[in-house]
């Protein structure tokens, strides 16, 4: 999976390309651990994200919990497959998803 980051002051945009599975979730976890300090507005672009595994959901949960303390987090352009997973697991109730 490819992780694209665009930093604009205290805004960080993360675009994910490919599959967010158990392996790539580790990479995204590192990004969340290291690059979100001082970020007040975190946005995810899921336009090119094909799949989210449970480990990926965990990282989203971590990010959401963190951003709950320091700012806002939004997710854009979620495709149908990914949306199914988010809805099934109830994550869609807690995440700020805009298409």
């Amino acid at each position: 999976m490819e992780i694209k980051k665009e930093l604009d002051g205290n805004k960080l945009k993360i675009s994910l390309v490919g599959r967010l599975d158990a392996v790539s979730a580790g990479d995204l976890d590192k990004v969340i651990q290291n690059d979100v300090n001082g970020i007040e507005e975190l946005t995810f672009d899921f336009a090119e994200l094909d799949f989210v595994a449970s480990a990926g959901l965990r990282v989203l949960l971590v990010a959401q919990k963190r951003m709950n303390k320091q700012g806002t987090m939004k997710i854009y352009h979620v495709n149908e497959d990914v949306m199914d997973v988010l809805e099934m697991t109830g994550f869609s109730n807690f995440l700020d998803i805009e298409n």
Partner: protein, 735 residues
């Protein structure tokens, strides 16, 4: 051809050694061939130049010699002619002077008789005459008529001429000669020289019949009236005889003829002396073109009487005769019998004669021809010597080249080995290293790149050795962990109910479950147990992530759930159990792990199935009446462990006889084939509907589904745990 050479040198799989060897050999060979070609070309050019130049040289030299020699011969011949002409003229002139002297003597006696007394001379008729002795002879006519006293007085007077004749005769005594005077009265006074004889032999015929006034010399001289040279005749001694005569006078006019006849042996000697070569001819020609004297006795230059050169048919001869008569001196090439001759000539001006001497050109030029032949043969022999030397040089060159080639071959070998040796050593060393002898050090001390390479190899083996030690250590640690993981897997598996058939005493249901972990320890789990005699609880769950953390969290989740369920008062409290467990999981969950779970409890008496779904995949239900699978309605409750204080909504449905439930984790719907395509819910339904599930028990159902899944995945790697649980409700009637 080019490809062949190229392939020979580069393309074929050859060792570096062979390539270097061939390269050195080819380079040197090329040099040798070039040098050899230059040498051969040089030698051939030299040979050609020498051959052509030697021919030119010998031709030029021979021509030059011929020219110079012929000029010299002509000049010399001219000189000889000049000298000989002078000599002959001198001889002739002496005789002429002597004749004139005798004439003046006789005339003095006749004109001054008073000064002379009479003298009596011997008569050959009556006494022998000695050689050189002056005698008187009366001619035939006088003998017949007799001598008058008056004539006797005159004879007696003229006999005093003996005083002149006698000393002069001594001058000629070495030659066959006669000095005499013939009177018009018919007597002669003479002295004969016969060298080597004491007396003069006179024939009777001569003594009786000789008449001086009838002889040619007398008549010609009388007619001529001056000093006369007579044609040459062969005298008694076999030598050509030459006569010079002059008339003398008394007071009455012509009185007789004085003559000196002399064998011209001396002139003959002179002429013979002047001959050049075997074919030479010398001759004396008078001013009318008549040959007076010649060393030849036949042909156009013979001394046969009447031979005339001026009127000769041979133009070259007659032309020369014209020049000779004109008193010229020089030389001329004349042709005689088809052969060329040098003819040199010189005048004798006192007597208006000319002397000629000739020699065959071939003969005098034979040394020139010989010289030419000698030069040519010497040049040729030199050329042959040079050729043989050239051949020797070529042979020596070939030998040297061959020796050099052999040397070169060995040197190339040696050089190549020297160059390739370290490489071979390196190869051997590297092979040993490859065989695992990492402690092996390659020892190459060439001081060049190969040594650097060897050092690099040694460095690499050092690092490899260190790495191997490190790897061994790490591997051991990993093996240790793997062992522990295997134990963990065992523990995990043993935590899941795995003894089938489960609760065979309950014929109301049949249950079967499988878990296939992607890694050694998985995050999926299932669970089922009898809560009491009438209630069966089933759970299926999936922890976020994989491996040991997921497994640990799974153990926690499973234990907490079971504990909560056991303390549950009624099946209606299942949602609360879920909420409580969620709150417990959220405590101290720093890792933010969560778990999706589906939990249901089946009342075996009435088929009522109460269930709660916490973010898990919706199970499928088989309605025996419809013989069809479909997803059951599930609430979109949030996962467990993600956030505390969540209310979970429970749901319920009723299972009829023969109905079946299949629970699964996302490892099933998200199984990937080789094209990375998800298996998906649609395929899941299709697969189950095709199984003919109504006739299958729980185990058969899952095995069929697994088979479809395995076919779908093919050789692709399993990406997630795959957990399935099947429950067949056989109905309360059998209870």
């Amino acid at each position: 051809m080019k490809e062949l050479i190229y392939s020979w040198f580069f393309m074929k799989k050859k060792s570096i050694r062979t390539r270097i060897f061939r390269l050195i050999l080819l380079g040197s060979l090329t040099m040798f061939v070039v040098v050899g070609a230059v040498v051969v070309y040089g030698l051939f050019t030299m040979n050609n130049v020498f051959t052509s130049q030697s021919e030119v040289l010998s031709g030029t030299t021979a021509n030059y010699i011929e020219k110079v020699t012929s000029q010299q011969i002509a000049d010399r011949l001219t000189d000889v002619a000049h000298t000989r002409a002078d000599s002959i003229e001198t001889e002739l002139w002496t005789i002429t002077n002597d004749t004139n002297y005798l004439v003046s003597g006789v005339e003095n006696i006749l004109q001054h008789p008073e000064y002379y007394a009479g003298r009596q001379l011997p008569d050959p008729r009556f006494q022998p005459i000695k050689s050189g002795e002056v005698y008187l002879h009366e001619g035939a006519r006088l003998q017949a008529v007799g001598v008058t006293p008056e004539l006797q007085r005159e004879i007696s007077l003229v006999s005093q001429a003996a005083a002149y004749i006698e000393p002069m005769a001594r001058k000629y005594r070495q030659y066959e000669s006669s000095l005499f005077l013939g009177s018009k009265h018919g007597y002669i006074i003479a002295a004969d020289n016969a060298p080597g004889k004491e007396y003069i032999h006179m024939t009777e015929e001569f003594l009786q019949t000789y008449e001086p006034t009838e002889r040619g010399w007398y008549k010609n001289t009388q007619d001529h009236g001056t000093i006369t040279f007579h044609d040459i005749y062969v005298g008694a001694d076999g030598y050509p005889s030459f006569t010079c005569s002059a008339p003398y006078e008394d007071n009455d006019g012509f009185a007789g003829v004085v003559a000196i006849a002399c064998s011209v042996k001396s002139i003959s000697d002179i002429m013979n002396d002047s001959l050049l070569g075997d074919s030479g001819i010398s001759f004396v020609m008078n001013n009318k073109g008549n040959i007076m004297l010649s060393t030849s006795h036949e042909g156009p230059l013979s001394d046969v009487e009447g031979t005339n050169l001026l009127h000769n048919d041979n133009v070259s001869l007659s032309n020369t005769a014209v020049k000779m008569i004109a008193g010229e001196k020089g030389w001329q090439i004349v042709e005689l019998d088809g052969e060329e001759y040098f003819l040199a000539f010189a005048p004798m001006p006192q007597i208006n004669w000319s002397f000629g001497t000739m020699v065959s050109k071939n003969e005098v030029m034979s040394p020139v021809v010989m010289a030419r032949e000698t030069i040519v043969s010497q040049v040729n022999s030199f050329r042959d010597v040079m050729k043989s030397h050239l051949v020797n040089i070529v042979l020596v060159t070939i030998f040297c080249l061959w020796s050099a080639l052999v040397l070169l071959y060995h040197m190339s070998n040696w050089l190549t080995n020297m160059f390739v040796g370290p490489i071979k050593k390196l190869i051997v060393g590297v092979k040993e290293i490859a065989d695992g002898h990492l402690e092996k050090k390659v020892n190459v001390k060439t001081g060049d790149e190969l040594e650097s390479l060897a050092d690099a190899f040694n460095n690499m083996t050092d690092k490899l050795q260190n790495y191997m030690e490190h790897l061994t250590k790490v591997t051991m640690e990993k093996e240790h962990i793997a062992t522990e993981l295997a134990v963990a897997t065992n523990i995990q598996e043993s935590m899941l109910p795995h003894i089938f058939p489960f609760a065979p005493e309950h014929e109301e249901f049949d249950i079967y479950a499988t878990m296939q972990a992607a890694k050694e320890v998985g995050g999926d789990f299932y669970d089922f147990y009898m809560v009491d005699d009438e209630h069966l609880l089933v759970t299926i769950a999936d922890v976020s992530g994989k491996g040991v953390p997921a497994a640990l969290f799974m153990v926690i989740a499973k234990t907490m759930l079971k504990n909560s369920v056991i303390s549950m008062a009624s099946e209606k409290d299942l949602a609360k159990v879920m909420a409580r467990t969620n709150d417990q999981l959220c405590q101290n969950n720093d890792a933010m792990m969560f778990v999706t779970a589906f939990m249901g409890i089946l009342n075996l008496t009435n088929g009522k199935f109460t269930y709660v779904n916490a973010g898990h995949n919706p199970p499928v239900i088989y309605r025996a009446g419809e013989k069809h699978f479909e997803f059951i309605e599930v609430e979109r409750n949030f996962v467990m462990g993600g956030m505390d204080g969540i209310d979970y909504k429970g749901q319920e449905l009723t299972l009829g006889e023969g109905d079946r439930l299949v629970l699964y984790t996302d490892g099933v719907t998200e199984a990937l084939n080789e094209a990375k395509e998800l298996f998906g819910e649609k395929r899941l339904l299709e697969a189950l509907n095709n199984i003919n599930a109504g006739e299958k028990d729980a185990q058969e159902l899952l095995l069929e589904l697994k088979k479809v899944l395995n076919d779908y995945v093919g050789d692709a790697e399993q990406s997630d745990d795959m957990t399935m649980l099947a429950l067949v409700f056989d109905g309360k009637t059998k209870a």
